[in-house]
């Protein structure tokens, strides 16, 4: 009888406590340095290739149904010749207090123990609540069944599924690559090393503007960069606690850059 009470007590304590994701091994985060980003869009293309994103066609893109998990947002200010173009790559921010997670009635989106906001494709019934609730508009819906014509189907990544129609999808921080790294580390009986996991966008950036890693590891590149004076979160006042940290663009020329940032200048991101 006493054992039963102990077991029940233990079980009650083991249920989720707030901030559970901070207690686990990893808290995956990404840092994007807007000083270095030049808006080339290589990350967008890499994401499409890695995650089997379908081409929806010109007519659908006109209707704003483009299937880009990662987009380069462009804002143009001013009149010619004093035009300023601002751009920022936006993907799923993997908010720690995500509005989308509470909206889904079937648990197709929830916060996993690595700090990622995961989307379970085969559970999604397509109520669109998560997409309406997302303040960053990062979720993409499969409006039709998108077929990839031959021979382009040979380009599809075998590690990632092809989603059927009626399912919501979004950036996963390349969870397939995270899974491979964690499995390898587990086989070799060690932790995941900093720089072992690189999502497709981080891998393809020619300007080294993106860094990815574990915020729980205080020595990792992302943890160091996240302590920068220029750091901010997108729409931070909404209190969604995103895992994507942006470094504010402060300079107009490369010369002023080094004055703003200490310990920067070419430290390896990967």
């Amino acid at each position: 009888m006493a054992g039963l009470v102990e077991r029940l007590k233990g079980r009650l304590e083991s249920y989720r406590v707030p901030g559970y994701y901070r207690q686990f091994e990893h808290h995956w985060a990404m840092v994007i340095d807007l000083d270095k980003c030049n808006g080339c869009g290589a990350c967008v293309v890499a994401c499409r290739a890695e995650n089997n994103l379908p081409v929806v066609g010109e007519k659908e893109c006109d209707m704003s149904r483009a299937m880009n998990w990662l987009r380069i947002e462009r804002y143009v200010e001013g009149e010619y010749p004093n035009v300023k173009v601002k751009f920022i790559p936006v993907m799923c921010q993997h908010c720690d207090k995500a509005p989308c997670e509470t909206g889904c009635p079937v648990f197709a989106t929830y916060h996993n123990q690595d700090g990622l906001n995961v989307q379970v494709y085969n559970r999604c019934v397509g109520t669109y609540t998560c997409a309406v609730y997302c303040p960053y508009d990062v979720r993409r819906f499969n409006w039709f069944s998108n077929k990839t014509d031959k021979p382009l189907d040979q380009q599809l990544n075998p590690d990632v599924s092809v989603r059927e129609m009626g399912i919501m999808e979004k950036c996963t921080f390349c969870i397939q690559r995270i899974r491979v790294a964690k499995d390898t580390a587990k086989d070799e009986k060690r932790g995941v090393k900093d720089g072992e996991v690189t999502p497709a966008c981080v891998q393809s950036c020619p300007a080294n503007a993106m860094a990815f890693g574990d915020l729980n590891d205080r020595g990792s590149a992302v943890a160091k960069l996240a302590r920068s004076k220029r750091q901010y979160r997108l729409l931070g006042d909404l209190n969604t606690a995103p895992s994507v940290i942006y470094l504010k663009r402060v300079m107009e020329s490369a010369v002023a850059h080094e004055k703003h940032e200490e310990g920067f200048g070419g430290v390896g991101f990967r």
Partner: protein, 441 residues
């Protein structure tokens, strides 16, 4: 009502509506059935087969006319609850001849609304995953989600309003059973559950009816509050407001009452119930509509005012978008005209008792309330936080057809109702008439 109507006349009139059918009725039935097939069955099947892409939805406008219709029909469903339950508790006499049709309106509009839940889903063949049942995968539904509140609230409301309608009809079904022959006798005999009209049976019935009336009022308030929280629990600037629950409930009572006015006006002529539904009813309903209109106007002004003094850039942008820069701005001002300005005619009794004016204003109100639901969805999602993703929404042909089809479905159900069910409450009308020849006694 005329004082000289006899009890027999009441029974005769109601049974006549159920046994005598003109050609016009059959013609309308066939038309509605065809309309439901063409405007609902075919587009919906096409949508399920090809995908949700046949709608006008896009990124970021993930909710469109289907959700607007859903909220609209749930709103209409509050008519019966208001008339039947609230006015029963307050012992209001003029409710007696119209409440049965209002209750039926409630049930049918909840059914229509529930259909739109399935229509708007991306993978509707998996709809049962939203029901909380124990599965072998040991996964339940997420009760944090306002859509789960919806599932529970609407299914509760549907069953309660059905039982409410049925219980209140039992004596009438028995009265019909005693007058008809053939298959109808067996049908109503089964439905009447062996009602004999004894004193204890009446007492039990009134207890059950009162219980349901008291239960269904907070249920109706909670159902529409929950539907409003689908929107209010989001972070979308135009939707994330605490006023949404009262706003929707007031809007529901408003549109529901307007719906009753239209329905009563049609029923009067269609099944020849002019004796029982008189200008007195329209007078009282008009007063109710005036009160609702003033309340609705107040809440709308509040929304604009609180938006202005909140003074965040996205709040101001969503206000300006909704009222001025959206392609639907003409709809917004039309709605203000029909919902806030025209009902002021109801201040004058001369226009309240005129059935034409009452019905015309009510038609305007119903249109205005539909527009309001549409604007809530279609002018809020295009203006979320990141301007790069701003994009307007326009419904596609499939969506428009399904909207029209839903109205036809509702009318079809109602046509079946007036033929198969006593659409005017016999025993309550008799209560209103008093004891026959009563003045001398």
């Amino acid at each position: 009502m005329r004082e000289d109507i006899t009890y027999k006349e009441v029974n005769d009139d109601v049974v006549r509506t159920m046994t005598q059918t003109g050609k016009g009725y059959y013609a309308l039935m066939v038309l509605m059935a065809l309309g439901v097939f063409l405007c609902w069955g075919v587009p919906w099947a096409y949508q399920i087969y090809v995908g949700q892409g046949v709608t006008g939805l896009n990124h970021p406008d993930f909710w469109g006319i289907y959700l607007a219709n859903f909220v609209f029909w749930i709103g209409i469903s509050h008519s019966g609850t208001l008339l039947s339950a609230i006015l029963f508790i307050t012992k209001t006499p003029w409710r007696r001849s119209i409440y049965r049709s209002a209750e039926a309106m409630t049930f049918f509009s909840v059914l229509t609304a529930a259909i739109f839940v399935f229509v708007h889903m991306g993978r509707p063949w998996n709809f049962y995953w939203t029901m909380p049942y124990p599965t072998q995968r040991e996964i339940w539904t997420s009760f944090q989600s306002p859509l789960m509140f919806d599932v529970l609230a609407i299914s509760t409301y549907m069953t309660s309003s059905m039982i409410f309608l049925y219980f209140g009809s039992i004596p009438d079904l028995a009265a019909v059973r005693d007058r008809v022959t053939g298959w109808r006798k067996d049908f109503y005999g089964a439905l009447a559950l062996g009602w004999r009209g004894t004193d204890s049976e009446w007492r039990w019935l009134m207890r059950a009816y009162t219980f349901f009336a008291v239960l269904i009022i907070p249920l109706a308030v909670s159902v529409h509050s929950i539907v409003s929280w689908d929107f209010a629990l989001s972070k979308v600037p135009a939707l994330n407001k605490t006023i949404f629950a009262p706003y929707f409930v007031v809007g529901a009572i408003y549109s529901g009452t307007a719906g009753i006015v239209i329905l009563m006006a049609i029923l009067r002529k269609a099944i020849k119930m002019e004796k029982y539904i008189t200008s007195r009813h329209f007078d009282k309903l008009g007063m109710l509509l005036l009160a609702c209109s003033l309340l609705w106007t107040y809440i709308n002004v509040l929304e604009v005012y609180t938006g202005i003094y909140a003074n965040t850039s996205y709040e101001i942008e969503s206000l300006i978008y909704r009222m001025i820069t959206t392609p639907y701005s003409y709809l917004y001002w039309f709605m203000i005209l029909t919902n806030s300005v025209l009902p002021l005619l109801y201040i004058f009794k001369r226009w309240r008792v005129s059935i034409w004016v009452t019905v015309a204003v009510s038609v305007g109100i119903t249109m205005g309330m539909w527009i309001e639901r549409y604007l809530i969805v279609a002018t809020s999602l295009p203006r979320k936080f990141l301007p790069y993703m701003w994009h307007d929404y326009a419904p596609s042909l499939v969506e428009i057809l399904m909207t029209i089809g839903s109205f036809m479905f509702f009318i079809l159900l109602f046509l079946l109702f007036i033929k198969l069910w006593p659409s005017v409450s016999i025993y309550e009308v008799k209560e209103d008439l008093g004891i026959p020849g009563g003045k001398e006694h």
